[in-house]
Subunit: 393 residues, 2 copies
């Protein structure tokens, strides 16, 4: 049995060897991690652009400043135009600024008399002109390798004409659900049975975190089936999540199967509540989390250990769950000698500890937005204490 | 021109009339809003369940306590069994507790001598037994109408055998992109052109927030096309997002088209930076946001106004963006007379104001995780000031 920090350290420092990369269309990039840094291929905007509706003007020798209006330039115009001294052109937001322009004068500050533009004072040089490269500069580093693509980074790359990106291939993830008491069909329960619910919860949280699930397999509590399913999964998936079947009971065959399959144990059992009987192991470059079967325990382990590890598998440079220090709105007592992960609800800078903390209950998770971390050595915390909270969903 | 709070109030108080509902499979429910409250249909667990591997025991008259082991009960067992005085049964985690059981004794606290179970002290009554209904009680209100389904609430409903849920139908959303300078094909740019990037950004953020985009239409800057596209979209979509084309320029035809289509203006122009020329209107039960064309402005308006409104359209009882008060790590000066939404990066309880605040730049959004709100009447804020931050992505 190890502590939470130790378990995390193992996951953080494990040598994952090389990771595959692939080229994908930029538009499919959401949630992928860049395998290569990306430099800006040209200046944005690539031409001087008006940021106002108004007039592009060249120097005028006359006072009050008077200009001959020689043209009209709308956004998207690709015509060449040059203003000579004393000339102006009507110009619209986003349009290319003609050569010879000293500044843009806002429509509201201009008067037109006898088809001539008259302005009262000399404009500031270059005013209302978006300079070439003022948004993005050619050669500038845009994104490091290891950056996760979000909507806006896709937009940034789209704006410089990128169509494909090189990303780390996402891990293939299987879910294996054990437990003879679990019913997956739509039928009434017999005494002794309960409806299976872990698979959809794990799958939904993974999808919300940009990981598709390759396969969900339900396996009966016997050694041959368990061995067979795990053996298959170790061949096809980069990560197998087993739900249940890792406690000490004689009817739990997962651990025995893993031993026979020569899966190396990186850790088994963590001093935490819920989620104590968590197993993490691997063989070659294939990894396995065996999560406790209780819904609340399984989900806690998924958030705290599996999601960060999945990001590491994609070489994401930011892989830990986002966290924040909040003030307790409730006392916490911890007589377990283990670390606690409590379902909590943030209220601005404070956190309310929810009911439904039992490891079998999912209701707490349905209402929670943070997991409050109480280290194992902490026994009593009063209202107002500052606690580390992991943000979930 | 109105202030930010006034714009928000309009969106918050608008009478949206009746909203359609539909039945969907529970497993597709992520991100949907419940149209009906859900009560628990039976007790969970529906039978007394062992939470340990060990022995179910009935009273024993002998000291030290000695029991005859009459059976073995695994999880999923549907057999009936009754323990008489002095009897015990081997039992595993999750298995149904036999009738007549006083308590469960952990495996670690039991000794077996001559096939008899011997324990040293009398167990606490009912220990290690999960009582019927201790997770969820029959008749208990599980979720209010207006609750958004997350992974865990799906799990909760799955665990009581729910297969379909009644939800509010998601709004049909179209995106209309205007701007003759925008290039959507893969080809080199001519002077005066830039690559279109708003569509994919708006689409990605909407998808991240569980809203599929029905249609993306690119429209040329002329009145007939604009009128035609907007007229079509008002017939098919519940919400149309227009990107660009709402400023005062002669080449901006959106506002004219909306007028001709008798779209009622709920507001036009908000005292904010970026995003001033935001338009919000509607006709019958169809709504339109005309977002400014600058990528940073468009996205700011999407987060602050459109996403909450989309949740309201689904009668989600929590529709505002989550926010938090953070401490500034940088001075803020606001000479604009407008409210600011600044791209920021949270560092625990502090926030760093990012570079790239210009309305044309998306880079700030690619790096940000909050939008820092500076009200219009605030001119100077020193490092350490507390500011309201909206959490984005």
């Amino acid at each position: 049995m190890i502590g939470v920090e130790e378990a995390r350290k193992i996951l953080k420092n494990l040598d994952l060897k090389c990771t595959k990369t692939q080229k994908i269309p930029l538009e499919d990039g959401l949630g992928f991690t860049l395998a290569k840094e990306i430099f800006c291929s040209f200046n944005l905007p690539p031409f001087e652009q008006s940021i106002m509706d108004g007039f592009a003007v060249n120097e005028s020798p006359k006072t009050p400043l008077t200009f001959e209006i020689i043209d009209e330039i709308q956004a998207g115009s690709t015509r060449s135009l040059k203003l000579k001294e004393g000339q102006a052109a009507h110009i619209y937001t986003g349009a290319p600024v003609p050569d010879g322009t000293k500044a843009i004068v806002m429509q509201e500050h201009a008067t037109i008399v006898n088809k001539k533009l008259i302005i009262q004072k000399s404009p500031k040089p270059r005013q209302h002109i978006r300079a070439i490269g003022s948004d993005l500069k050619k050669g500038q580093l845009l994104f490091h390798a290891g950056s996760e693509m979000n909507a806006s980074s896709i937009g940034v790359l789209k704006s410089i004409g990128v169509t494909n990106i090189e990303v780390y291939t996402k891990p293939i993830v299987n879910i294996v659900v054990t437990g003879d008491e679990l019913v997956t069909e739509e039928r009434p329960l017999k005494k002794g049975e309960i409806y299976e619910s872990n698979a959809i919860v794990l799958k939904s949280v993974l999808e919300k975190n940009n990981i598709e699930v390759n396969k969900i397999v339900f396996v009966k509590d016997n050694f041959e089936s368990t061995l067979d399913v795990l053996s298959q999964s170790l061949k096809t998936a980069n990560l197998t999540l087993v739900s249940g079947g890792i406690s000490v009971g004689a009817y739990d065959y997962v651990y025995e199967s893993l031993k026979q399959l020569k899966v190396k144990t990186f850790f088994y059992k963590v001093r935490q509540k819920p989620g104590k009987p968590l197993f993490f192991g691997g063989r070659d470059k294939r990894y396995i989390f065996a999560l406790p079967g209780n819904p609340g325990s399984a989900l806690t382990c998924l958030y705290i250990y599996t999601l960060p590890f999945l990001k590491r598998m994609q070489k994401n440079s930011v892989f830990e769950l986002p966290s924040i220090q909040l003030e307790l709105l409730d006392d916490v007592h911890n007589k377990s000698g283990r670390a606690l992960f409590l379902k909590g609800k943030r209220k601005n800078l404070q956190v309310r500890i929810l009911e439904h903390q039992s490891s079998s209950k999912l209701m707490g998770f349905a209402l929670a937005d943070v997991l409050v971390f109480i280290p194992e050595y902490v026994i009593d915390l009063a209202v107002g204490s500052s606690v580390k909270c992991y943000m979930i969903h």
